[in-house]
Symmetry: D3
Amino acid sequence: VPERVVSINGDLVPESRAVVSYRDRGFRHGDAAFDTLRTFHHELFRLEQHLDRLDRSLRYIGIDPGVDRRSLVEQMTGLVRTNAALLEPEDDYWVTIRVSRGEDPPTRGQTPAGQPTIVISCDPLPFERFADMYLDGVRLLTTSVRRTPPECLDPRAKLSNYLNQIMADFEAKEIDPSARPLMLDTEGNLAESSGANFFLVRDGRVLTPPEEFVLGGISRAATLELARGLGIPAEEHRLTLFDVYTADEAFLTATSFCLMPVSKVNRWALRSCPGPVVLRLTAAWSELVGVDIVQQAQRIARALVPA
Amino acid sequence: VPERVVSINGDLVPESRAVVSYRDRGFRHGDAAFDTLRTFHHELFRLEQHLDRLDRSLRYIGIDPGVDRRSLVEQMTGLVRTNAALLEPEDDYWVTIRVSRGEDPPTRGQTPAGQPTIVISCDPLPFERFADMYLDGVRLLTTSVRRTPPECLDPRAKLSNYLNQIMADFEAKEIDPSARPLMLDTEGNLAESSGANFFLVRDGRVLTPPEEFVLGGISRAATLELARGLGIPAEEHRLTLFDVYTADEAFLTATSFCLMPVSKVNRWALRSCPGPVVLRLTAAWSELVGVDIVQQAQRIARALVPA
Amino acid sequence: VPERVVSINGDLVPESRAVVSYRDRGFRHGDAAFDTLRTFHHELFRLEQHLDRLDRSLRYIGIDPGVDRRSLVEQMTGLVRTNAALLEPEDDYWVTIRVSRGEDPPTRGQTPAGQPTIVISCDPLPFERFADMYLDGVRLLTTSVRRTPPECLDPRAKLSNYLNQIMADFEAKEIDPSARPLMLDTEGNLAESSGANFFLVRDGRVLTPPEEFVLGGISRAATLELARGLGIPAEEHRLTLFDVYTADEAFLTATSFCLMPVSKVNRWALRSCPGPVVLRLTAAWSELVGVDIVQQAQRIARALVPA
Amino acid sequence: VPERVVSINGDLVPESRAVVSYRDRGFRHGDAAFDTLRTFHHELFRLEQHLDRLDRSLRYIGIDPGVDRRSLVEQMTGLVRTNAALLEPEDDYWVTIRVSRGEDPPTRGQTPAGQPTIVISCDPLPFERFADMYLDGVRLLTTSVRRTPPECLDPRAKLSNYLNQIMADFEAKEIDPSARPLMLDTEGNLAESSGANFFLVRDGRVLTPPEEFVLGGISRAATLELARGLGIPAEEHRLTLFDVYTADEAFLTATSFCLMPVSKVNRWALRSCPGPVVLRLTAAWSELVGVDIVQQAQRIARALVPA
Amino acid sequence: VPERVVSINGDLVPESRAVVSYRDRGFRHGDAAFDTLRTFHHELFRLEQHLDRLDRSLRYIGIDPGVDRRSLVEQMTGLVRTNAALLEPEDDYWVTIRVSRGEDPPTRGQTPAGQPTIVISCDPLPFERFADMYLDGVRLLTTSVRRTPPECLDPRAKLSNYLNQIMADFEAKEIDPSARPLMLDTEGNLAESSGANFFLVRDGRVLTPPEEFVLGGISRAATLELARGLGIPAEEHRLTLFDVYTADEAFLTATSFCLMPVSKVNRWALRSCPGPVVLRLTAAWSELVGVDIVQQAQRIARALVPA
Amino acid sequence: VPERVVSINGDLVPESRAVVSYRDRGFRHGDAAFDTLRTFHHELFRLEQHLDRLDRSLRYIGIDPGVDRRSLVEQMTGLVRTNAALLEPEDDYWVTIRVSRGEDPPTRGQTPAGQPTIVISCDPLPFERFADMYLDGVRLLTTSVRRTPPECLDPRAKLSNYLNQIMADFEAKEIDPSARPLMLDTEGNLAESSGANFFLVRDGRVLTPPEEFVLGGISRAATLELARGLGIPAEEHRLTLFDVYTADEAFLTATSFCLMPVSKVNRWALRSCPGPVVLRLTAAWSELVGVDIVQQAQRIARALVPA
């Protein structure tokens, strides 16, 4: 069986043999930053914006990747091209680039610290997990776990220290395996889901928590642009659960699914799901990327189900 | 050259070939817990206490290591025995056991989540880094980075999400490469250094921040016991920088160096360093473990310096 | 059908005709304090302690009930005696006394504010709701809703402003109708359930959050006494979810069920439920009150189920 | 003497016989939401906006009133029409609608929870309490009691849990019976008075705390509109006591008095009271509602004073 | 008229000519620490403890007074001896020692920073202000101003940055010129009055907020000792207003008046004032210092009133 | 040698004899407000704005200076004119006006509180300290000391309680004598340096923390105006260290140096220093004030260095 390849510091290695040292600080301490993209028609979407964000994350934790932008672009597009051979034409990849600080040197002697480890990999998009949700919506559950405050580790950097979100994800998933968490910040304002930004619609306006305390999602930015392009007022606002319980619609944005309606938050069903604003934005997304995102997800998800 | 071996899920592998998959959640998310021990006379010190703590850390993040206590003890003692052949008789090992949640399954299909990855490794103790500090003391610098609050990720679990402490460590090390951070919690109380507990001595009493907001160090517990054994009142207390600036002595405890006097915190030199209480506790430690901890560090550190 | 009576300002009224004015500040603003007791063998348990607590709650919100202690005791014991005729000999009552600030005067004119409204009522204990839980334990779910801080309204007063706990209760019950909330305070420490105190057992010690931020339950105090009487160390301690996830047993205390084992908190099953300490404390409770509390609940609950 | 009637679940009942069960959750727990309106020329002002807000409050605490909007409008306007017969032509009503979750079912058996209790009532506006303050201003006193944070119970919902504001009101009133509290939020920002919104004027700009942490008053919204209509910049802004002490004017808004100048906050007298901006806004209010609000209050208040 | 003298850097200067440069950092920035003592029978009470505390305050802000302990003791006792000539035998002094960082050097050139300025002065104790309060008690008012948190400036150091307490004092005094503030910390716990510590008595126990967030008063420590000597349990405890409203007695301690009963906090009158515990402690104080503190204050206060 | 004069309550006194009483509340408690200006061509820059700010600071702490605006303007301009004789034509003064609450009255008797003390003084600008930094930039270090929150003492008032900033300044200066602190607020947001406002530049936009939690600098306001005049978007925004680490440029503004590039914050060197935006703003400043601010500082600084 042919196998996808992974780029490790520029070398292409089959997935099953793609490894890092047990001394890698990524493995030891989560001492790494990453970013996640997806392709449309096998092309990486908003690659420059994602690399800008990766650059900010790396600067924040003080890792110099040691590779220039052009080289990163080439490695990433090259990898996608190579792995595209294993993909149906209408299917697409989820692409991750991760940069760790490299291996810890031996505890004795003068060996300098290692070079960063750069791993780029492609995964088929998990359409099965979310295809139905474009119609049914996703259920969110608020958690007792709060999003880490900026004075401890800034949520705006995308880092391999994910246990805060994982703890929240478990708190939600244990209750409903298809649910996702809706995390609050330490002051009780809405922050974000795990790996996805939260939006709500009220009186025809689109609102999302300010970027100050959440990851500045690329899909989040694209959605704000699309809304404004459609003449829908869209802005950042401090929000609480009161806003959710009195909203008309709500949705998440993320790289993998672009935009996903929310059906319910805790015991409150949203007034409509998918609501009219979500539907307009979904159509705008499909137009922007040249792919009907709902159809693509559903067609491939169905194909995966054994007859 | 003979090489130390590492235990990966029970298999002994030479260090240079000890690897984990790029899909391991330890590498991807820091989704792992760990514990660090050291040997005295090549015997693991307080192994049961360390495994109890590892067990609490794992329970907190919901990882079942899938291996019973006896087996872990055998793997760890076996590994130390094997690697002891590469160690001078008077030298000792730093031993780490790390348990990650294992590999992420493929994004499509029904493959269940992977089994935990258990990595046990031995490193020579870095005596060069701290041998002189038993006499000179270590300098601490408070940082603007605050220790993560329990509602986000509990500091009492020893987890592979170390960027909070790494950011603090960098803030201190950039100023003085031999300094260590003294982190405060989000309310401004003293918490801990990166990987070490903080103590101070005032009016003959030994004080340390309550375990509620810091890692419950095994060396910390041993030091409290030793102090009480010597008739020195020793207790947990909420502390602030005011306590530091008006203290007589201060010290850190950690697995590697046991107990280390502090010379200075920010611009305040402690009244004495090493002070009388630190010296009594250091002697008590040496007696407890059957090794003169200062002499051992200094002898080996000197041997490492090229003539 | 004979009907229970309710005492309204000392008058005995059948339940179906026991009413308060729509102008009562209890109805308008929740401007009232209350306390809840239960009987054993038709005798009110720790009546003086409950009236002391009611007195503190009333002083806090500045309501003078206008009735002395002896009269309250007489009204309450008299009411229980009267209603006892409607109760099986082995059954018992849940008794509530509520004191509101009385009616708002007309908006115009010089009518002074009304006198307090004192309502005392008896309800059969809802054994059906919890009889099985003595064996199976109760499931707790932490909530995003946090317990109101003392600077806003002190949790130590038992007041008719219950929406904070009701919101938490809904967040838990929507997920599992038999679950109860485990609320945190605004700093992320464990506080209490809705109307019940939380305890855990670790290494043979019984721990409960300090009374500073939770209601000082009478059953909580009785349980601490019983534990100490059994030689089990029992103390107040700031606790977080880490303590729960690493505990051996956990339980709730409340007036209605006395003491109830906890089976699970979020996704963590406690190590044993009912565990050995819970069983000893349950036996001690039964001895203290002269009733086998588990048998009573189960016998009556069974009797209620239609054949 | 003819008596006003109250609507209880649609039935018209004389005030003196308008009652709710002692089991009503409104009486037991303050488990209710409400809204307060007033009439001008015996017409309810901004009824739709008030019902929208009531709807948001009810959704937040999860009460479905079980009655549609049209029916509520009819009940309210009908009640005002009925009671108007008891009012002088130039006088007006204060109208309250309150929706509780209804009666608690018996503690045993399968009786489902009760239906919501809807109480609508009319009170003559208490002009005596504030008529003089249009000229003299009202004194505000900051309190140690802080406004409940959204993570505990959101201040944007108008709920029958009023003890937080009552405690603040008492703290102010004990010092000066005609004073009102000025509450801060838990971070020390200005929030609101008890049942009234706070505004200040500085350098010709009108500022009020953001709606995120205070009740979004209908009179507050009307005042912001009126200011903008007059060409006065008016916006939401986080404010502290420093802003008050350096302001030119300050005022409150509320349903009953519309807009009221503030004379003093703690020991600081405002630079002018009533100041020029307050006077312009008062005139604009009078024009908006077609009633000279100051004259109305003063005329009726004088009429009430016994000769 | 003979005039008291002040010691400025060891020089004795008549009060009317005792000055510091306008460049003194004490005047410019409040950049100074101080301590306040009083005499009994013209002897400084607990001088060593006060100088220990001054030393801690100075160390905290990094001022080295440049004078050894013996010399300070001599200067202080010498000054008291000199000024005692102007005092009635039964009268006593309030003595202040203040150490500023000295003069700012010129903005240009290499002049080093100046030497500390040490000012020691004697004032007759203001018995008129508090003599009656031993019988009537003092009224306390909680304030919206909160005590500065340790992460900003530690309340345990006695520093010339007093505006936080002055703002609180004004908030209280504006309402009642004889009242004093009762400040809360930023979490809403009781902290201290301005320049005095707060205690309450409940069920025969004496409680006071922990020294962690308040100045560790010398009179506070003496009172805890005296209570324990009388067999009254006395301990530090986090306290809130709920504790005050449910207390039996309350009192303040300070250098000037030693111990003073509290009559009222906000609208709550304490159950007894002066209560039995306060009376026992007052008697114990008088015995400790060899002066009937109440009689002394009253006798001298009366003597000061013009006939 | 001729000497500069200082104005004390309107009297001109040589600096060496300009003193205040040891009883002055400015010296005792830092109970004073102040403002600092500078001259360009010997004219006070934005005098009215500075006096407006002084007025706000004084109102906040409740000091009435007892002198009208015109008189203050005359005193200040007069003093500058007098002292200008001692200044080279191309040199300029730093001017401070400080208003304390005046002397504490005697502790006994009815003497009323003293009148405010107004001190106005001129200092040569310390060009030596910062002339080189226009080219090299200033290094900032974040501190563990946090800026005092508004509920304790509002940072928007410029007060003589400077120990909070002094503690931060020491924390920075001990590490690097030429560094300055970058303080965070108690929530971990960027606040200000000691006596200077912080700005950063990102993607061509100028950002600075909102005035709500920092002193509203006059130079800060001028810089925002200048930026907007140059077509550079400039706005207030909540900022964290993440913003700093991902910024293109950063700078401080203050009265003395107007605007100063930042080279480094902790271990992060800014991308450019002085960067293009800083250079444009510096040129705009020079044009605004009619002085090449960089040249002036460098010329005078060089002249001061002994050959």
